[in-house]
Each structure stands twice: as C-alpha cells, then as structure tokens.
Assembly symmetry: C2
Homo-oligomer: 130 residues x 2
Amino acid sequence: NKKSLRERNAVMCNNALMADTYFNIGGEFGAPKKFPAHKYILATGSSVFYAMFFGGLADDKDVIEVPDVEPVAFHAMLKYLYCDEIALENDNVLATLYCAKKYIVPHLAQECIKFLENSLTAKNACVLLS
Amino acid sequence: NKKSLRERNAVMCNNALMADTYFNIGGEFGAPKKFPAHKYILATGSSVFYAMFFGGLADDKDVIEVPDVEPVAFHAMLKYLYCDEIALENDNVLATLYCAKKYIVPHLAQECIKFLENSLTAKNACVLLS
C-alpha cells in the first residue's frame, strides 16, 4: 500500500479504476487516444475542468472529444495533476504548454516556459555571423 | 493558485465543494458531527471505503452514519488522506488508531502506534493495546 497522497494518486493516473470520465485525445494528429480520468482530480487542478464538470451548464457526456491536444501532452498534464510530476522533453514541451494554457494549469505552463528558456540558453542556437 | 497536489487537496479536506458523500460522525459520544467528503480521496486511501463506494454491494446513501468513531479522530483521518498530515495528540491518538484500523488505513495506524510507543517510553504509562 502507498503511504502518501502522491503515491496513491500516481497509481490512479490514466487508470480506469473508479474513472468517472473519459477523453478522446488528439484526433487531429492521428487515431485519437482514450484516457480515463477522475473528475475530482481534474476539477481541483483546473478551473476549466471545474466548470466543465461542476459548472451550471455542465452536461454529462461519457466521452469528451479533444482533437486539438496531442496525447503525449494530455498525458503530461495528467501526470502533473495526479502526482506533481513534470516530465517535459524537447518533443512535447510546446504541445504540453498548449494543453496547459487550454485548461488553465498555471504552474505546468510556467514549467514549460522555464524548460523552453533553458533549452534556448543551452543550445545557444548556432550563429551564422559571429 | 496551488502548485502541488497536496496543497490543492488540503483545501478540499472537510469542504463541501464538490463533495459527493457525507458522514454523521460520533453519535455515541454526543451530537454527531457532519463531514463532507469526496469518494475519490477516501476510496484511493482505504480499501474499506473503496468497497463501500465502488464495490459490488455499494448502495448510494446520502449520509453515512458512523456513531462509534470520534469526530476529532475522523477529522484526523481525513487530514491524513487528503494531505498526508499527521496531527496526533495525547487526547486523540487512541481514537484515531481505532478509526484507522476500522477503515484499514495502515500508515496512519502505524503513526498512531509510533506515537504511543514514544509517549510510553517518555511517560512509562499503561498501554490499552498490546
């Protein structure tokens, strides 16, 4: 068994156990990927999800279609919301920033921006005229 | 806004916002105290709550009566489940241990026992549990 809230939640990330909502992610990029989720975790981490699930006009769809977010980015956002994990790479940081801004998850967006700044400094983009 | 899972959840502890279940606690000790709670957090932290809310025989009661647990102990368990907080005192440790064993929350029970061992060594008082 797991001692901490984070460990317990990490197991629940992308886990159909007790899932009360589902997302079809990334239809624009290929075959959409399905993610199970728990409204409680999403709504406590994002005001957009809160409004979506608990707001006045919330309608109870079984599966929510999100074609414009990349699956790897949505999964990165889930990992942050479920267990504070920041797992950014060069090939997912822009898509993850897009997702974080879409769902208003400020700390995750800030981490993406920090990552972008560091990658710029580190690469020192090559100079044609020195 | 809250950066970590723990901070976000701490606010949800004993909070009616998004609550999907309620408990009447401690009727045996006086007027019962009402606690709002979130099935997701309880069920991920306790197999008894998991069975209660998601098991085969789960019935959807609005309010769950728990007359034999002391309110201060139930609140201590919620604080542990929602945000890893261990807040034990001499006057609640035994009741909290009772509650932790009732709902099978092993780490909280262990913390209670550690507290008791330490107080025993310090005070050399008599022990109700063997």
